[in-house]
């Protein structure tokens, strides 16, 4: 398989069991047989409640945690191999970085770690500070940055070596709506430039707005996965959207829609929201647990 044909991410049946201290043979199953595949250029959102295994999956993908079973690759290279890190940029949840460095120094530091030349670092620093709109704060120490600014400089450091894959853990956590919108727009812009994005978020509305495909993870298991269209379509219902419908027509709607002189805009599946779908799964999961504990 050539590099161009390799998926951006290939997670194959990974499981992770964390051993519990003083309980030999027993462990905590954090991720249970999860498989995810991302094609280059996609934006994929992994959603799930706290402790569902999102971060562990992400850490396995980045080679920070070893899976108990399964494999994980980035553009065909094993996740734990240093070579795969050339292709990936990572922004952790609520990053702090080195507070004594300024914004420009932070980018220089990460650029040097990536082995970029002085000229490349200088050019890239300017480009990225422009991109994340932090030119005005380039010489200010990170200790004085707001949460939104920290997230944006975090995004810039993740992009310093021009990675083909961006992994974002809660990229808008704790950021105000304006900052959140800026980050969302940045992600879309990067996607337009061909960068593959894999993100975890609690902000379902945002995930719905920007992700091409979504996976829902509960108790370590990937319970649903698909395109937004697939996930939020309600299969047993039909929705008819009408324009210029008269009150009279509305009265007779149930029986006469097709025979009236009305322009039919769209006939298809009505949509729920990603948030509704998520909450339904959470409720169903809770019910199952209650039933289990009763039995």
């Amino acid at each position: 398989m050539t590099e161009a044909e390799n998926p951006a991410i290939s997670i194959n049946g990974i499981s992770k069991i964390f051993p519990l201290p003083f309980r030999k043979g027993k462990g905590l199953l954090a991720v249970d047989n999860v498989s995810i595949r991302l094609e280059p250029g996609e934006i994929y959102g992994l959603i799930g409640p706290n402790g569902s295994g999102k971060s562990t999956t992400m850490k396995i993908l980045l080679g920070l945690v070893t899976p108990t079973h399964g494999t994980s690759t980035i553009f065909g290279k094993a996740s734990h191999a240093v070579e795969s890190k050339h292709e990936v940029g990572f922004l952790p949840e609520n990053p702090y970085f080195y507070k004594h460095l300024t914004g420009a120094e932070t980018l220089r530091f990460y650029g040097r770690l990536c082995g970029l030349s002085h000229t490349q670092i200088r050019e890239r620093t300017e480009e990225l500070l422009d991109l994340v709109e932090l030119q005005g704060a380039r010489d200010r120490r990170l200790g004085g940055y707001s949460k939104g600014m920290l997230q944006r400089i975090g995004l810039a450091q993740a992009l310093i070596h021009r990675p083909k894959l961006l992994v974002l853990d809660e990229p808008t956590a704790g950021v105000d709506p304006v900052g959140s919108r800026q980050i969302r727009d940045l992600i879309l812009k990067l996607s337009e430039e061909g960068i593959t994005v894999f993100l975890c978020s609690h902000l379902l509305e945002q995930v719905q707005e920007i992700c091409h495909r979504v996976g829902i993870i509960f108790r370590g298991k990937l319970v649903r996965e698909g395109t937004l269209e697939e996930l939020i379509s309600v299969e047993d219902q039909t929705e008819i959207i009408l324009r210029n419908a008269s009150p009279h027509l509305l009265d007779q709607l149930r029986s006469l829609v097709a025979s009236e002189q009305t322009e039919t805009i769209r006939i298809g599946k009505p949509r729920t929201t990603l948030e509704r779908l998520f909450l339904d799964h959470a409720a169903s999961d809770r019910r199952q647990n209650e039933e289990k504990s009763l039995s």
Binding site: N12, V65, H80, V82, P95, F97, H100
Partner: protein, 303 residues
Amino acid sequence: MEAHASTGNTYHALSPARIWVLATSTLTQLVRMKVFYFLIIFIALLFGAGFLFISLSFEQELKLLKDIAFGAMSLFSLIFAIVGTAILIPKDVEDRTLYTILSKPVPRREYLAGKLLGVLLLVGISLLAMDVIFTAILYLRQNIILTNQLGILDAKEIATPENIENVTAIIKNQGVRWELQAAVFSIFLKAAVLASICMLLSTFATSTMFTIIVGFAIFFIGHGQSLAREYFLQGTFSSPVEKLITVFLAILFPDLQLFNLTDGVVSGEPVPIELLLKITAIAALYLVIYNVVAILIFSEKEL
């Protein structure tokens, strides 16, 4: 391609450039914690020792000045080596900076090497600064004493060439000599060994406090280790089990007494170059052993 067993187990040549980036960043990180304020305490101590105890004999006065200087250098370098190293990895994990670094093309062993080198740079620079201050004050004090003593000889009308030569030789023997630098270097070597032990401890320790406490405990055990070894191996209790325990202790804990050149130097004893080379080689061996073990543990660590 997809063989996947453990994190960080693909080996590449070391990149000195990346290690240096991490080391200088670590040094800056530690310096920004305002650690160099200790120099004010050091200067105050030396001025106190150099100019307040003037009722002592000139030999005692110079010995006391050296004693206090080496004591302070040992103490500060010990604190920097143990505390400085102990806080680095937990802080990077807490701030998630470690994740951003290790998700870049940085092998874990380079991260550890960079952090350790950063601490050693801090210890080295601070010892160098203390050494310069100490040498200047000792030189100043040595010249004042020499002038005073020659004045006394003149006043007593016993300033014969022999007496002058004798007094000058005694004062110079207690004054600025190259052996002082050898003693400072031995302090650095001891601090380097302790820093590498703390780096090893912090790869599996669950708290900074644990690393600091165990680090200081190893410091004390390391100084008593040679005494214990002599007791077991040469005493009446040298059974195979006791010998085994001693050998185990010798491997587990470094013999820090080996690096103690300061007592001899304070008394004006010479330092053979062979001894200096020997302790440098021993320190290097300890550093390699502790670092290899630290890298092996850290490579498999779940972050």
